[in-house]
């Protein structure tokens, strides 16, 4: 009995303390551990949440809750008429964080911008090889080919010279790998012989400064009082790393955290009726699709692809595979991205007409493979189940489907093959909110034999998206992309399946939290009500 009483007392004491502390501390039950704190070294959202999204700024940023580009550390920028030079005017009076090890002697300036990119692209830079750096995103966004040089015009002006006009470049500058680090801090660490601390004890200009990290357990931040946009409403931010989704929910209920990501789909119903939980939701920046191989018979015939599009009961897939946490997709880009063409009409679910069209195209007794991914992804939580539903749908129109799967790495590799048999289930999550990041990456002629799993090269479509890259005016670009989506739908290289819906359970006392369309978790601007 004594034991129980002691436990009770201890429990009560802890609860009382955390209630007192919650006045200004926001606790986020994050799903995993960051790989490090230098965002350019990594590609995982969990790592960006812990680094770039709280500690750093970029030259330009996404307005919270949208994919719109707004000024960040650059107050303004100019693009040359030929679209190959971008000149950024930098914000003055921005201060880097201080820590026990580092006190900045100067404000943020052009040297920091040049350092932040130079270390990723220039092999001579001492930081190029630190922490086994491979600069994945810098490479994935083709920055080495794209950026010819970066010049310091003066202390507060930086010019990027590109090798070709590339309108999505400005969106790249808002990505996590483009976070601006302190050159002064890096130089100090280099001198002390501890460059790896740049990746362990980050110093940025962002709304929160890093306080400490206990591996796999807790990350602590405190609000930056000198933040150039004004100090955050909360004083402290804590990430309590909690890998299990059900446990995160328990912690949210018990008041041990205020915000949690990635709820268990099975818990959604309970959350909706739970008064301790405010369940927010928004469409994710992704698309799940079935890519036919348009270079292989009979999928080289547009009628066959259209017919199979009509054979798919998308609503059943949304209900069964997504358990309601998804919406049917009609375009290859999600509705949260600008230039999404809502006028496009999806193929209706009409098995009879589909069968008729197949017969007219001379396709009878068709047997095909559908590839099911072996992993869970937001855009496809259960590819095996989805493939089974497609198998039933296609059987209705007389098409015999065999479901195949490979180990994930193997799957990605084999599905690139131009001569591959069958249709592949796959998807994409946007990197920078630019339509180009979906349309050119996944459907451009350059990507055939690579990320273009439909192996689809259409002159009209490719002409539109190539032109859109060279125009820097967004309205004009939007018009081109809208047109490209019409061509896409008509040609039907994919059956677009779904966009997922992202759920974020938060406590009712959390104010002004916004779901980030990029899937990030951003706590600047979020408050706690008493």
């Amino acid at each position: 009995m004594t034991l129980i009483r002691t436990t009770l007392a201890a429990g009560a004491a802890v609860l009382a303390l955390s209630a007192a502390a919650s006045a200004q501390t926001l606790i986020y039950c994050s799903e995993g551990s960051p790989e490090g704190f230098d965002p350019a070294l990594y590609t995982a959202g969990t790592t960006f949440d812990a680094s770039s999204r709280q500690v750093y700024n970029k030259l330009v940023e996404f307005e919270r809750g949208t994919t719109d580009i707004v000024p960040g550390l650059a107050e303004s920028w100019e693009v040359s008429d030929d679209g190959t030079t971008y000149t950024f005017k930098l914000r003055e009076g921005v201060k880097f964080h201080s820590s026990d090890q580092f006190t900045p002697s100067r404000d943020f300036n052009a040297d920091d911008v040049i350092f932040s990119f130079d270390r990723q692209g220039n092999e001579e830079n001492p930081y190029n090889s630190y922490s086994g750096g491979t600069w994945e995103y810098y490479n994935a966004m083709s920055m080495p080919d794209l950026v010819e040089s970066i010049e310091k015009v003066d202390d507060y002006t930086v010019r990027f010279n590109l090798t070709r006009p590339e309108a999505p470049f400005i969106a790249n500058m808002a990505m996590d790998f483009a976070s601006i680090l302190s050159k002064e801090y890096a130089d100090q660490l280099q001198e002390a012989g501890t460059p790896e601390l740049l990746n362990q004890q980050p110093i940025g200009t962002g709304p929160f400064s890093f306080v400490g990290y206990q591996k796999d357990a807790v990350i602590r931040y405190s609000a930056n009082p000198d933040y150039w946009k004004g100090a955050a409403p909360i004083e402290n931010l804590v990430f309590a790393i909690t890998p299990d989704a059900s446990v995160r929910y328990q912690k949210l209920q018990a008041g041990e955290c205020h915000v949690m990501p990635y709820p268990n789909p099975a818990d959604l119903e309970a959350m909706e009726s739970d008064e301790n939980v405010n369940l927010m939701q928004q469409e994710g920046l992704n698309v799940g699709y079935l890519a036919f191989n348009t270079q292989v018979e009979p999928f080289d015939q547009v009628e066959v692809r259209q017919a199979l599009n009509m054979a798919i009961d998308k609503q059943a897939i949304i209900d069964v595979v997504f358990q309601g946490a998804g919406t049917a997709a009609k375009n290859p880009i999600p509705p949260t991205i600008w230039s999404y063409n809502d006028e496009v009409e999806d193929y209706p679910y009409d098995p009879e007409q589909a069968q008729q069209m197949l017969e007219e195209a001379g396709v009878t007794d068709l047997s095909m493979e559908i590839w099911a991914m072996p992993v869970q992804r937001p855009y496809n939580p259960n590819a095996r189940r989805m493939a089974e539903l497609l198998q039933e749908d296609f059987a209705q129109v007389g098409v015999d489907v065999e479901i195949v799967s490979y180990e994930w790495g193997e799957y990605l590799e084999r599905s690139k093959d131009i001569e591959r048999e069958g249709a592949v289930l796959l998807g994409w999550t946007g990197d920078n909110g630019d339509p180009d990041n979906f349309l050119a990456v996944l459907l451009g002629c350059d990507a055939v034999g690579n990320a273009n799993r439909a192996q689809w090269c259409n002159e009209e479509f490719d002409g539109l998206i190539q032109e859109a890259k060279t125009v820097s005016e967004q309205e004009e670009r939007a018009r081109l992309y809208e047109e490209a989506q019409v061509v896409f739908k008509e040609q039907a290289p994919w059956a677009t399946i779904a966009h997922s819906i992202v759920f974020e359970p938060i406590r009712p006392e959390v104010t002004d939290y916004k779901i980030d369309p990029f899937g990030g978790h951003i706590f600047y601007g979020v408050g706690l009500e008493q």
Partner: protein, 335 residues
Amino acid sequence: MLRFVLSRLLTFVPTFFGVTLVSFAFIRLLPGDPIQLLAGERGVSEARYNELAEQFGFDAPIWKQYIDYLIGIFQGDLGTSFVTKRPVLDEFMALFPATLELSICAITLAILIGIPAGVIAAVNRGKFFDQALMTTALVGYSMPIFWWALLLIIVFSSGLGWTPVSGRMSLMYFIDGPTGFMTIDALLSGEEGAFKSAVSHLILPTIVLATIPLAIIARQTRSAMLEVLGEDYVRTARAKGLAPLRVNGMHALRNALIPVVTVIGLSVGTLLAGAILTETIFSWPGIGKWMVDSIFRRDYQAVQGGLLIIAVIVMIVNLTVDILYGLINPKIRNR
């Protein structure tokens, strides 16, 4: 005795090399290329692939990679994690104290309850106590850990609010002490309430992790006791008129402990490596979760390094058990 210990130590050498080979081969035999997995849907160009393969040393012939790995081990270098880019040994040592602390608590709880429960059951063979204890043990042994842990959390943390849901320490405290054992560091920090918080965080994970070893130890103790209780010397002791407690406690239990010690030794191995579920559910920052994550990412260096250290620890524990065994049972020592 010395000869016995030495001969045991000699078997260490081939086992050690076997472990290095198995740990090296295991992760490479799994299908899946780490570079492809790292790139994901984004993909990686061939030129870039070759560049990365060279950087990580994957382009070298497999035997050379193994030799380099062995050379590294003898220089105390287990390589660098492919994912976090930090030395594997540092990563391991940052997490290991958490696993060790939890394992020690769990095995202590299992021993403290399991052995007396087994003895009581054996002494009361066939009676109510025996049946109740052994049924409970069977349930404990067969219970899905995931379910059991969530049940405890829902009842004691969310429902009654007696214990925290997960983690090692209240977020009020920022304790990053010298030992890595949260309870000890909390005491050393002198912060009021920190020690209580550390203990309250330990309660549920300890119970969950102790459940299976407790059931095994209780059942093992019971059957070993039953065997010993039928021996002549126990009957003799009883006939001499010794008190039942003395007979059961001193004469019978001491001999019954021999197989129990083996079981405990084996449990330590499972506890250290097998606390994955418990660690995941309770957000306990230990090596079980780390190993699983590393396997999924095909983080070769982390997996082979982690496996090697765990295997060596298990080998040392087994060696200690063997020696203990010799101490308890002279028959084995002299064989």
